[in-house]
Each structure stands twice: as C-alpha cells, then as structure tokens.
Amino acid sequence: MCDRISNRVIRVASLLAILLLGAGAASAQTAANLFDDSVLHTLQIAIHSRDWDQLRASYLESDYYPADVTWNGIRATNAGVRSRGSGSRSGFKPGLKIDFARYSARGQFLGLRALVLDNMLQDKSMIRERVAMAFLRRFGVPASREAFARVFVNGQYAGLYAMVEEVDTQFAQRTLGDANGALFEYRYQGPYYGEYLGDDLDRYRSLFEPRAREYDSVFNLYDPVRELFRAINDAPAESFRDDVGRHLDLAATLRFAAADVLLAEADGILGFVGMNNFYLHRHSTTQRHQLLPWDKDYALFQWNYPVVEATSANILTRRALEDPELRSLYAGFLVEAVASATEAGWLEHEAQRAYEQIRDAALADTLKPYTNEEFEAEVAVVIDLARRRPAFVLDEARRQFGGR
C-alpha cells in the first residue's frame, strides 16, 4: 500500500517536474532559438481551408489571411499570412510572409513582428540562401538570421522552407542599434547601377519603398536618398570619399560588396542586370545610409563568376575603387572574405552541413518545382563552388589589386 502511494507520489512529482521544465523551456525560447540553424525546425500553420485555397489561387496578390502559427510548442494566434516574393511567387508552394502584428499593434512572436518563409523555388539546391546569409553574418555584414523548417499547413506537409528574419525596424535595432531610422526596400524595375536620377523625388520613391517611417513626408524620406545618389555620381574624384561618406557608410558598403563577390552573387548589389535584392537604411542620428542584403537565391551562382567586372559596372563601386584608400580597403575585405570562407573549410562545410540537414525533408517535398535528381545535382554544384570559389576570388583579387 505504502509502495503504491509512494509510486503515485513519485509519478505525480515527475509529471509536475516535466511540465514545469517544459513550461520553463517554452517560456525561455527566443528568436535566437527560432533561427538556430543547427536544427531543422517544424512550423505548423493553421489557416482556414478556404483562406488557404484563396491564398494559393490568388498568389500574385498580397492579401493577408488570418492564421495561427505554432513552433516548438509555442503558438501565435491571429497572425496575418500572405503570399510573397517576386519571381518566386507560386500557387503550389507559396512563399509566405507571416505578420504577427497584422491584427494587433502589439502583436509579436518571440519578439518578432514578422517572419518570412522562403519557398526556395528559384534555388534547386535549396541551400544557397541559408548558406549565403550565414556567411554574410560571419563576415560582419548585418544580415537576416535564417533556419530551415518543415512547414505543415493544417497538418499537411507543405514543403521545406527557409525561415528568414524580416528586415524591419527590429532588425535594424538588433544589427545597427537604430530602430528609428528610415528603411527602404529596393524595388527592381530594370537595370540600375546607381545613376543620379535627377531632382524628381518620385524617381527615387518608385525604386525605394519605405519599410519604416512610412508616414514621413516624401521630402523627408527621399531628399537624403537623392543627395546620396547625386554625391555618388557628381562628387569630384578627389573628394569622393568625404562627399559620399557623409551620406553612406562606405566601409560597410565595401565589406558587403566584397562578401557578395566572394559569394558569386549574381542578383545582388553587383548583379549582372543591375542592383537588386537589398535594403537601404538611413541611421536616425548620423543620417548615413547603409545597404543591407536580402534574398540570396542567386548567390553561389557560378564558381568562376566574374570578380573584377562585377564592381566596374556599378557606379558606386567603380568610383569608390578609383579612390586609393577605398580601393585598398576593398582589397583587404576581399582577402578577409576569402580567409573567412576557407578557415577550416568553412564555406564548403557549411554547404555540406546544410545539405545533410535538409536532405530528407527536401526529398519529401513534392511541391518543389524540380525533381529530387535536380536537387541533388544542384547541391553538388554549390558544394563544388564552395570548394573552388575562394581560391578563384583570391587569384582575381591579386590580378586586380596586385600584392600578395
């Protein structure tokens, strides 16, 4: 009798301990845990069946639908979900933006106001985006945190996605220590290499969509952007560094450019059809701008993607590299990027690790618009690139800048 009672007490105590520990673990979760890229996460989305059908049917629209999101036992109710992306929009496997503050000014999940689910439609390897962002962060470029997740919609496997940290005021606070600055998302409208577009602020307004301080006047938002591009184009060569440096963090920009070159990014700020996939942040106190990376589906594009030519088409980098001091700074960043990528074979190992982490989930993803064979072949291309690219960049840098 005593044994039965004591067993029961032990069982109840154990259960309580598990519950308490579980609750403690759940409450201790942070956004850092959500973006822990050592884990293949699971994300559950509950969305009304008609809303999901509607979202997929009208995937080219950006209408929000209410949904509940659960990760690691933590549930966010009443989030807003919409289709997202440019070329990656899909009705079969929609890219999604989850806006936790859509229906409540105080809405958040683990401190995040939004979360992007990248459907990785344009990257058959599915690892480019995640690996590229990891390298950018490692190299000191403010970049979104990312982790893979198996996404289930109403209990059905909806495919493998990359959870991407939204570039918003919270991101700016975390990475730049400034939540009050202006923030713009660049909208690709055709080849643009940083030309001065004239006095009309609407020209800049059409290229840079505000993502913070949306209710500021057009003048307050865009006059500094116009002056930035005026300086980039018109500043005399001898004062370029000072004139442009008043509007732009040149060191951060060149660091970002060097990272993009190392990553063979074909659709970034030095893309082969003009600038693309970046945000522009203007610090609230210094009023200086900084470019921030976004969407790395076309990174790790080709192991011998041009190094020298990439910087010559863009007016900003071309003129910057005409300044001896900035040229030297950029050359140093390139060498540093190579070193970072090759340190203990980091880039290759990261690509291999990402592949091994997602392989089963990717193969089970029947909604991806490519075959499993294509997936495997593309992964091989990326891993090969990760192995060969750093040396190629180093050789090209020596050719361009001389020295070691």
């Binding site: 209410p66 109710t77 009443n78 229906y103 409540s104």
Partner: protein
Amino acid sequence: MGNSPSLRLGDQVRVDLHARIQADVSVQDESGVEGDRFAWGNRRVGVSGVLFKRVEFQIERELSVEEPWRDVFADVRVHRALRIRAGHFKVPFSMERTTSAFDLDFIGRAASVTDISPGRETGIMLHGRGPRRFFEYEFGVFRLAEPQMNPFGIGSTADLMLTAGRVAVTPGTASIGIAFTESRLPEGFHDLSGHFDDGGLLSSEDFYVNGRRRRIGIEGRWRTGRLTLKGELLRQADSREGESASNRDLSDLIVDGGYISGLWRVVGSPRRARRAVDLTVRIENLGVHSADQSDPPSLSPRAENIAPLRQRALTFGANWLVTRWVKVQFNAIRESFVDEAGIRPEIPEARWRSLMRLQFAM
C-alpha cells in the same frame, strides 16, 4: 400623420395625402472630415387611409434613387386583439427604430438603434392589443431583401427569413417592452457600417460571421408631467460557425449598446402640442466584442477575442415645434471611442459636432 389633406367617401373610404421633408445643416464638426454642410434628410410623399373601417393601408415613397419604397402595407383588423399586417414595413424591434424619423426627439437615432435594429422588410405580422392598451404584441415573419452583411456568395441568400416578436405592457404612464429577432446569417464579413463608419474606425476591420443572428431588446418609457424618459438596451449576437483559423466554431460576435434619454417640455402642452419647445438630453453607447474574451484581443477576422471597441455619445438638444407642420431641431453631440485593448493603430479623439434640422411634415 394627422392634419393632412384628406379624401373621404362617406365613412367607408378615407385617403390621406402626405408630404414630408427634412433639411440638415452641419453647424460644427471637429472630426476634420471635409463634406457638404447642407444635406437633405428624408423627403417623402405618400398616402394612407382606411377602407371599409377594417383595412388600413399606407404607401410611402422616398424621393431618392436608392430604396425609394418605404412603407407599403395593408393592415386588416379582425379584432382589437388581432390584426394582420402584410407588405413592406418596419420589423417590430426597438422602440426608437419603429418611431417615424419625423417624430424623433433627436435629429438622429441612437447609434445602437441604427446599428443593431433591422429596418423595413417584406413580411406578414400578427399584432394587437388588450383593453386600454395595457398590453400589446407583434409577431411577424419577414423575408430579408438583403443579408445585412457582406456575404461571399457562399450559401443562398434567397431564403433568408427573419422572425421577430415584441411584447409591451403599459402600466399607467410607463411602458416596458421586450423584443427579439432571429434569422439565418450566411457566411461573410460582418457589416459594422453604422455609426462606427462615421468615425472611419471599423471601415477596415472585417470579421467573419456564419450561422444565425439573434437580437434582443428591452425598452422602457415613462412620462410624468412635462418630463418623458426613454431608454433601450439592445444586443445582437452573430454566430461564427466554422470560422476559426482551424475551421472550428468561434464564440459569437456581439454588438450591444443602449441609450437613455430625457425630454422636458418647456413651452406647450405636455401632450399633443401644436406649438412647443422641448429640451432634450441623451446618453448612449455602442460596443463590439466577442463572447469569449479569454484569448489575447485581436482585430483578426477570425479572432476568438475580437478587440473590444466602444463608442460613447452625449447629446444635448432643443426642439421647436413652430407650427403643426414645421419643426426645428438642434443637437450638439460629443462622441468618443474607447479601444480597451489599445491595439488599434489610431483612435479618433473625442469630438463635438452640432447639427440643425428643419422639418416640414404634412
């Protein structure tokens, strides 16, 4: 509607002609909304009368393009306790809603009355009263011309029937009544368009509803000497069957509110005055929320706990019955909104507005 031009054929036929018109002027508005300061109110012409002492009828048309036909009905008197009305007329719900717009104590009805009570529908109704009007009742079945919300087109709106009933007792100079309506509610967005829309507050907030709409109202009136007090409490509950993000039922969407008003006859006979001056005051509120408020509040169309919002208004007024046909009304209204959860991006500040109305009714 007495004192109108009338046609009589012996004591078997009587036909009265009516013409009524209202013109409103916005005297002051702190909302900052640009708009015309002058607006026409109701402009109606019609006939009413009695045939063969047993059949009353009324036909009234609004002089506007939208919804031109107002009351179009016949009312057959079987007995004092049993009358049958058929046609297009007001659903018997809410004392103030069933009062003609030309006989109101204020320029506008209370927000809760406007938003919660149904208007005119086509149907048939039994009604009657007991001796000395101590007791009266109304019970009707109506076919809804419109679903009173914004449907998706999911489910038929052709068979939308509404049942309504009202019972009132009048002990002495007081009157107390209770009323209800019930109707099917096709799936769609709730239409909280009424006074909330004036503030632009809920114009972008949609909430799904599906199932049934139930209304209940309590009304009271008391007259003593020169003072008349009125009040109503109204509640509308819309079910939300299968409308959660996971296709489960949500708790009812509730719209509730009420008012209490007082009228003091300063000049003129306390009853049936042809010339009079009244001073009026009304306190009212109208709110929206959901029955279950255990979840965090949200503005999601599928939120279990819809973030409560409440509108409050205080109205001071004066009515001048210049002649039996002409009435001038002035109202000063202070409106405020309360977002209890504090999650709406913008809430208008409390504001005053004042209106004047010139009315001719014959």
